[in-house]
């Protein structure tokens, strides 16, 4: 429902936000009158906190003007109320139109990549590992920890690249039932691959929660391991006396 001179046509804001997050809001007001109107915008949070406070502007006929502000998301759902006022011929500000929008409190998922290991042959070493002999078969183990107060289903994704940057393993999965309780960890095990090149292998790991709308809760990007070239056993070839002389 528009006012006499203005129409609050939109409130641009996210539908949800985490507690403590800065929420940016833009109120869009259109002049629906046949002449320019001096307009003020007000943005109020739950009818308590004014975060857009009498921002004014002249708006040409038919034009729309944006007024922006922000607030810190409290630990609850909130409603944004936007109001438009116009200045009358006597210089008084008159209420004209309003709009509201709800912003839900988003769940902040918390988890941690708590341990990372590389298995090769019968050995296991922490990631990043060093001096792994060339041509060993590698197997990545990643542990995710649920730092929420409720049981969570965690997911994982990782990609391993060789020293040339080629992908040697990409793995992703969501854990199966039973899921991971508060404070507990879940171990993800990928597939085997060959550490065939000398140099540095890298891994990019992302730990997820909330399969319905996956959110990355922790990430590791860095060295998986360094692989040392296999040096062959000492071997001579073409050994000969090339010359002899007096000195």
């Amino acid at each position: 429902m528009a006012g006499i001179y203005t129409d609050v046509v939109d409130i641009v804001a996210p539908s949800s936000a985490a507690a403590g997050q800065t929420v940016s809001v833009t109120i869009k007001i259109k002049n629906i009158y046949s002449a320019s109107v001096h307009v003020s915008a007000i943005g109020v949070l739950d009818s308590e906190t004014r975060f857009i406070d009498w921002l004014d502007a002249w708006i040409s006929p038919g034009a729309t003007k944006s007024f922006s502000g922000s607030f810190t998301m409290p630990n609850k759902n909130v409603t944004i109320n936007a109001y438009s006022y116009y200045e009358d011929i006597n210089g008084y500000w008159r209420y004209d139109d309003a709009m509201s929008k709800n912003v839900a409190l988003a769940v902040v998922y918390k988890g941690k990549i708590s341990k990372k290991e590389l298995e090769y042959d019968e050995a296991r070493v922490s990631i990043p590992a060093s001096n792994i002999p060339q041509n060993k078969r590698g197997l990545v183990h990643i542990w995710g920890r649920n730092d929420m107060t409720t049981t969570q289903r965690m997911g994982i994704w990782w990609r391993v690249t060789d020293p040339a940057g080629s992908i040697v393993e990409e793995y992703s999965t969501w854990e199966a039932l039973p899921y991971t309780g508060p404070g507990s960890t879940h171990e993800f095990i990928g597939g085997r691959f060959t550490l065939s090149k000398a140099g540095t292998y890298r891994i990019d790991v992302a730990l997820y929660m909330n399969p319905a709308d996956p959110q990355i809760v922790d990430r590791y990007t860095g060295t998986l391991c360094t692989v040392s070239a296999v040096v062959p056993e000492p071997e001579f070839a073409g050994f000969r006396v090339s010359d002899y002389s007096k000195i």
């Binding site: 056993e233 071997e235 001579f236 070839a237 000969r240 006396v241 010359d243 002899y244 007096k246 000195i247």
Partner: protein
Amino acid sequence: MYQYPPLSAEHLEHLWELGVAPPGKLSIMQGETVRMTVAFSYRGKAITCTLRCSIGTRIAGVFNESVYATKATSIPPSVDFLTYTAFADISTAPLSPGTDYDIEAKISEYAGQTLVKIDNVIDVIGAPEFQNFRITDYSKV
């Protein structure tokens, strides 16, 4: 120890001494020093080994080593074969004058892969020796 190529300055100096390439014969005065140079290719871990160069006589296939010299040689690690040269200087003072001495060279720790033998390549001149002694003319003075 030299990697080849390029030739090091020392190796160039060595070439300047007009070494004899096998199976050429080298004649020396008793007591002179013989520099024996070997060439080889190597791959493997870094090693420090011993080059052993010898002069002697081979009788019925058995080498009787008369004089020798050793030289510690360090070879860097390599996955691929790389070419090197090395030498050892042998004092011939203990050698009796004689002809057709034989030589051997090897990396002692890897003798099975490296031992090489060349026969009848060194003559040692020791006792006073004349040749073509004759009266060339006679005249008043």
